[in-house]
């Protein structure tokens, strides 16, 4: 019971910490110039494509 309580405390403490981090870094400090926006957009597409490929690979492995 005591272990569960300390785990709960640690978890809630960490959740609060994550929220504080999200609040602290809510706004990017870098000025979002067109070049930066374009780079971040390209990065999103790149990562989505990769995740798609990984998903496809996983699907083919499962089907086999």
């Amino acid at each position: 019971m005591r272990l569960l309580y300390s785990f709960q405390t640690m978890l809630s403490g960490n959740i609060a910490k994550v929220r504080a981090i999200n609040a602290r870094y809510a706004k990017p400090r870098l000025i979002m110039s067109p070049a930066v926006r374009w780079a971040l957009l390209a990065l999103r597409f790149y990562l989505l494509t990769l995740v798609g490929l990984l998903g496809y690979k996983f699907y083919t492995l499962v089907v086999q």
Partner: protein, 422 residues
Amino acid sequence: MNWVTRAYYQLQRWWKAIRLYLIIAGPGLVVMIADNDAGGITTYAATGAKYQYYLIWFLLLLIPVAYYVQEMTVRLGAITKRGHAEAIFDGFGAFWGWFSLLDLLLIDWLTLVTEFIGMTAALSIFGVPAWATVIGVCLLMTFIMLNGRYWTWEKIAMAFCVLNLIYIPGAFMVHPSVSEIFSRGLIPNFPGGFNGELFFFLMANIGTTIAPWMLFFQQSSVVDKGLAEKDIPFGKFDTFIGSVFTVAVAIFIVIVTGTVLYGVPVDDAAQAARLLMVKDRYLGTFMAIGLFNAGLLGAICISLASSWAFGEIFGWAHSLNNKIKEAPWFYVTYFMTLVTAGAVVLIPGAPLVLITLFVQVVAVTLLPAALVFLILLLNDKETMGEYANTFSQNLVSGAIVAVIIVLSTLYGVSTLFPTMFG
């Protein structure tokens, strides 16, 4: 008399500069030489066995590639006094920050598993069981960490870096033909024509030279060491020397396997060590010791990269100068990463080959992002001031980053779909 005074004065200046460099040297050398980790040694051993000396010219091209990417972390760390993870959170917001941090944790952990695979395979050649290697390594790394000072940690790491040079005498032991090395290795060529297999090897060599953890590690290391703006030239020089050493070691491994094992299919460095052992006992021993040391050095640095990054973001004390009591979470993250990665190797039937391949795939999800962030952060004139990237620096580093992104992506994709490039 005048020239004697001037020469003496010049000599004093040089001596002072050398002494200052020796104080500042470390992050660049350690990160670059640790880059020749267990996976790297396997790649170079396989490259030599497959293409003999013919790809040495390509390895030489990797010196400026590694230097230009890593020197940016020196400037960023010394000016902002922030690690790479914190710089990404601050510059691009929480979404990209969490993405980078969690991706880094995953890839560091997976890479750490591959280091343990390398170390256990290396010591198994001498009959040491895997469990003994894992426990021994964990104890050794605990001892290295618990000395409570960055300086001592760095000097111990540098001692392991020196051991990484074991391949150099190894190359002399095989008596390679120097004229063949020069005539075949230094003239750019594609042995057997440019085909899918060669492309895979080229990509693998780039993939092992630039890894995401290196960016995070060196920047945090620069901050932990306390390098200031005035130290940047020395930090850059340190990085340059490190990049020369890392490629030199790679070339000497290629010479060893290219001379002795040319035409023999080599799948990993431990297999190469065993094959070399048959030819020459000492040579095989050198290879195995080198592989173990490479895995250990990689493990020392990679586990720290995660701990530093988490400490930066969660606001925990995260310096090697802190004792356990002062920075408990920093050390807990370090040991948890280490012990769990070591434990995976001991699981009977664990998919170790799959993990090794998966590392390369996950790396390409983080590397391009980390490199793009690095370039954008280096263009933040408000923070970087005179140390921001100039037009020519942007041109060079931008081109290098673009090539790395394309090739490492193709490498990752070809790992997923091996028949893609024929």
